[in-house]
């Protein structure tokens, strides 16, 4: 169940990120257009993915990751502690967090199954012109799933800064988990626990 939802999320993240190159395009349009592209790519590479499931990580890194704002996501996930890190630590943590999410969620795309997707217009959030795009995934016999993509304008594009599924924020979930770990082990040790920071 979780996998299915996250597939949709990743597809849509991809859709949003590639479409963000087209500044003139609205966030809603980006989501719609890129969904199709991700689904097509999965379809085209179906055989290769069946033989080499690891290949999905390449797809994720090529098509999705470059268009997510991991610096902002890292800042959000660490909260006030972000400013306690020096530049090097900020970068290594950001890379570590990115790799953690790729390792964790990339495979979920492999078990994608067709679902009906409907969209709602982007709505403004926060105070800096950010928007949230909402989509609803439906399948017979299963409670509809609502996914939101908070995005921020970034020069000529839009970048994803969080995923909110059924009102549960990925960033906030991780922030709570990390806060507990930092409380337990200390900020230095916590950041040091990421391979990228060693």
């Amino acid at each position: 169940m979780i996998k299915q939802y996250l597939i949709q999320v990743l597809i849509l993240v991809y859709m949003i990120t590639i479409s963000s190159y087209v500044v003139a395009e609205s966030a809603d349009q980006i989501v719609f257009d890129t969904t199709e592209e991700v689904l097509n790519r999965l379809q085209v590479d179906r055989n290769k993915l069946a033989k080499e499931p690891e290949y999905i990580k390449t797809i994720v890194r090529e098509l999705i990751i470059p268009h997510m704002d991991f610096i902002t996501m890292s800042e959000l996930v660490l909260g006030n502690r972000w400013n306690e890190l020096n530049q090097n630590k900020k970068e290594c943590f950001s890379n570590g967090f990115k790799n953690l999410l790729v390792e964790r969620y990339a495979y979920i795309l492999l078990s994608y199954k067709q679902q009906n997707i409907s969209y709602q217009s982007a709505k403004p959030i926060g105070e800096k012109g950010n928007v949230s795009i909402m989509q609803t995934l439906t399948r017979e016999g299963v409670k509809p799933l609502i996914i939101e993509y908070p995005m921020r304008p970034d020069a000529n594009s839009w970048k994803v800064i969080d995923l909110v599924i059924d009102d549960v924020s990925l960033i906030r979930s991780y922030r709570k988990m990390f806060t507990k770990e930092i409380k337990h082990t200390g900020l230095e040790n916590f950041v040091g626990s990421f391979q990228e920071c060693n």
């Binding site: 996998k3 959000l76 016999g141 409670k143 922030r175």
Partner: protein
């Protein structure tokens, strides 16, 4: 003397009025005795505001009730076959028709998830079950042998026996009363007048409800047994579970009280006939015993005071004490008759009562003080037992010194039986032993004391319910199957709350003022509530706890969120992270959450519950050690804080009660002896005699407890009162002996002669009482209920030990020390 003049005037002078008063009292007692009840509810076994019981109720309410019975079914053919499933269906449907059954869990109804090959995203409220007929027998077989929640709980390891769990309905009104009472009792400020009235009303209402619910549960078990009886031809069927154990124990106790009570009574008639050979000396003691018993029962019925498993012994003790009082009166009458052949019957009755009133009163006061000391114990049945005995002792004394002499006053003279007095020969024989070998007797007593007393080290405050029943009984066999094949009988819960640091983190997150939040998040709360348990780190810790609990050989099935997660992770294909877990909690269908999550995790996911079934019949089970070990593991190895961990459930409550019993009955034995010594000093007005008198009592208590230790007889609800009974009997004999000695010694200032006269007089009464009780209570060894057998044999043994202590050891010490009298 003034008191005795009044007694002579009002009691001995008006025997008809006394008898008439007792007839009225007996009629009233019989009328009220119909209200007399045996209460076996959990409430009856602990203090009214016992915190562990309140916590247990709270946890049962929050997660899952353990008020259920288990039916085991082993079909002759295959379990997963149409015929066998039809039998299970028939039992289930019949159970569901019972008024007080809330639900039934069987292999027919539980969802087939683990082997379904469904994806997590395909989990909906409508899952396959055997009942729906959309599951193949092969798949069902695999599911019940591999699903972590079902295996060895619903179906045995071999796949031949299944369990059907029938949950009883919760009486909401009862729990409403309990909650209201708890709220009032936990108020820190002084209660208002209205609140005090409400509390009193609630106490009465709860008491009534307890009685009602006990009766109801008894009927439910009877109905369930009828259903099972109808299906028994189709396979091997047994019933088990805590409610059944409670009901069966009560039925055994009640049955033994009636059947063996009558047997003991008849046997005593027989023994008294042999002793006294005259009808009046047989019927009178039995009439007085009956009167004491009935009036006490009537009083308890009138006061609405239900007896518990522990205080159910009161009738036997009352019988012993009343019999002892009446035998002392008879023996004294006959001695006086022999010594003063010229005296008439009326004068003999007057002399008997006047000479025996003081020592008998002393024995009753001392015994009453000993029993009254129980009211300072921590547990309600022990307190009740103490009060019931104090009331019973007063009734026994009054009946013996009013009704018995009143009846005697109306009787004609009776000739002294010319039969050979064997008792006198035996007691005088004992006196000769004392004269000839006092040192040897003391040394022998010391040796016995050391050898048998060493057995006290092996005393166990432990018992297994299964050991209460003989191995050929249905209850024994059912419990054994549930214990060894279907996860264990006795439920227990381990609850772990968040630590202090968690609350700090929670506070920190709540108050964190992060500008980025305002920039990137909307007003909508998109953060899952901080959960202590629903994250990979703590779930890993939960897994370690779960695995550790499973590693105890005396623990059967362990279920927790770890078992549930193993199922959903299998469907998911991988473990979950915090984000997924938060989503899972939100997305999982309500019906599945009800089975997989809610019984093990609080709504805020901050409190976890591990449910254990303990193998009650395992000979290695030591509840106290098990609980201490689990607690130590959680605190020392898993590093949980003391305040986080709570062990609760029926097993914990039962262990608490046994340990409290041990503390109140055994560990305080030193204080009891100090109190008795104090009483002796007041009664005998002679410190030297008081110190000597305490020795045979210590001898009796040590011998009984040591014997129990050597014979591996555990101290439990029934046997733990034996020590109190032993001391009670021994103290009575000692008071009679010393009191008589204080009268006999001044006659010729000769210790040997005084001892001879004591043995020939009061010694006979002690002998008669001890032998009558010994043989009478030996009848209890024919019971099917093991505690009754222990009780009968140990009480008989206590009588003999007290006899030896008071007729051999006590006079030997007197002879050696030669105390000033």
């Amino acid at each position: 003397m003034k008191l005795f003049t009044c007694y002579n005037h009002f009691i001995l002078g008006n025997p008809r009025k006394v008898i008439f008063s007792f007839i009225v009292l007996l009629i009233l007692s019989i009328y009220y005795s119909f209200n007399f009840e045996l209460d076996a509810s959990g409430e009856s076994l602990v203090l009214e505001n016992d915190q562990s019981l309140n916590y247990y109720r709270e946890i049962s309410q929050r997660y899952a009730s353990d008020d259920f019975v288990i039916i085991t079914y082993k079909p002759e053919g295959k379990l997963f076959s149409k015929g066998s499933l039809d039998v299970i269906r028939s039992i289930r449907d019949a159970l569901l028709k019972l008024e007080n059954i809330a639900s039934v869990n069987s292999i027919l109804d539980v969802p087939i998830v683990y082997e379904s090959e469904l994806k997590l995203s395909e989990l909906t409220g409508d899952l396959m079950t055997l009942s729906e007929g959309n599951v193949g027998f092969d798949m069902a077989g695999r599911e019940f042998s591999s699903n972590p929640l079902y295996r060895e709980l619903l179906v045995s390891k071999e796949g031949k026996t299944t369990a059907i769990q029938a949950l009883f309905k919760r009486d909401e009104e009862y729990y409403n009363y309990i909650n209201q009472r708890q709220r009032l009792q936990s108020k820190k400020i002084k209660l208002t007048e209205d609140e005090r009235k409400t509390l009193a009303w609630l106490n009465d209402a709860i008491k009534e409800k307890n009685k009602f619910l006990s009766r109801q549960r008894e009927q439910d078990i009877t109905e369930i047994r009828k259903i099972l009886e109808r299906h028994r031809v189709k396979g091997d069927i047994h019933l088990g579970g805590v409610p059944m154990i409670v009901v069966d124990m009560i039925q055994f106790i009640r049955h033994d009280l009636v059947v063996f009570g009558a047997c003991v009574f008849l046997f005593l008639v027989f023994i008294l006939t042999i002793f006294f050979y005259q009808l009046r000396w047989v019927l009178l003691p039995m009439l007085i015993c009956m009167t004491s018993g009935l009036v006490t029962i009537g009083f308890l019925g009138y006061a609405g005071w239900a007896i518990t498993v522990i205080s159910s012994n009161f009738l036997s003790i009352l019988l012993i004490i009343t019999l002892s009082l009446t035998i002392h009166l008879i023996v004294r009458y006959r001695d006086l008759q022999q010594l003063n052949p010229e005296l008439g019957h009326i004068e003999l009755v007057r002399m008997t009562t006047s000479s025996m009133a003081r020592p008998c009163f002393y024995t009753i006061v001392t015994t009453a003080v000993a029993f009254a000391s129980l009211v300072v114990s921590e547990i309600r049945p022990v307190i009740d037992f103490g009060w019931i005995m104090v009331i019973g002792l007063c009734i026994a004394f009054i009946s013996s010194f009013t009704l018995m002499p009143a009846i005697l006053m109306l009787m004609d003279d009776v000739d002294l039986s010319r039969r050979l007095n064997i008792a006198r020969k035996i007691t005088l024989g004992l006196a000769r032993l004392v004269h000839n070998w006092p040192v040897v007797i003391i040394l022998a007593a010391l040796f016995i004391l050391g050898a048998i007393g060493f057995g006290i080290n092996y005393l166990k405050v432990e018992n297994r319910f299964i050991n209460n029943f003989k191995s050929d009984t249905e209850i024994y066999q059912g419990m054994k199957i549930i214990d060894h094949e279907l996860g264990g009988t006795m439920p227990m819960d381990i609850i772990i709350d968040p630590d202090r640091q968690f609350n700090e983190v929670k506070k920190e997150l709540a108050t964190e003022d992060n500008e980025l939040d305002e920039l990137f998040f909307d007003d909508m709360e998109t953060a899952p509530a901080l959960s202590y348990w629903l994250n990979p780190i703590m779930l890993e810790k939960a897994k370690q706890v779960h695995n550790h609990l499973e590693s105890y050989p005396v623990v059967g099935k362990v279920t927790s969120i770890v078992s549930s997660l193993a199922i959903v992770e299998k469907l998911n294909g991988a473990p979950f992270d915090e984000f997924e877990l938060a989503l899972l909690r939100k997305r999982i269908p309500e019906s599945i959450s009800g089975d997989l999550v809610k019984p093990y995790l609080s709504d805020d996911s901050n409190q976890i519950r591990f449910n254990l079934r303990v193998i009650e019949s395992d000979p290695e089970l030591n509840r106290k050690v098990l609980l201490e070990d689990i607690h130590s593991f959680l605190i020392n190895d898993m590093q949980f804080e003391e305040g986080q961990v709570h062990l609760t459930g029926m097993m914990v409550l039962y262990n608490n009660m046994l340990q409290s019993l041990f503390r109140s009955q055994i560990l305080t034995i030193g204080a009891v002896f100090a109190a008795i010594l104090f009483m002796f000093i007041i009664l005998f007005r002679n410190i030297q005699l008081a110190l000597i008198a305490i020795i045979p009592n210590i001898f009796s208590a040590v011998l009984i407890l040591g014997t129990m230790g050597w014979l591996n007889i555990p101290l439990d609800m029934m046997t733990i009162t034996i020590a109190a009974i032993t001391i009670g009997i021994s103290v009575d004999d000692t008071i009679h002996y010393i009191h008589r000695f204080q009268h006999e010694y001044p006659v010729d200032k000769n210790y040997e002669e005084a001892i001879n006269r004591c043995h020939g007089g009061i010694g006979k009464a002690i002998y008669y009482t001890s032998i009558a009780i010994f043989f009478g209570f030996a009848m209890l060894s024919f019971s099917n209920f093991i505690p009754t057998i222990y009780f009968g044999l140990l009480t008989g043994f206590a009588m003999i030990v007290a006899l030896i202590g008071d007729l051999l050891l006590l006079p030997s010490i007197i002879l050696i020390i030669k105390p000033k009298v």
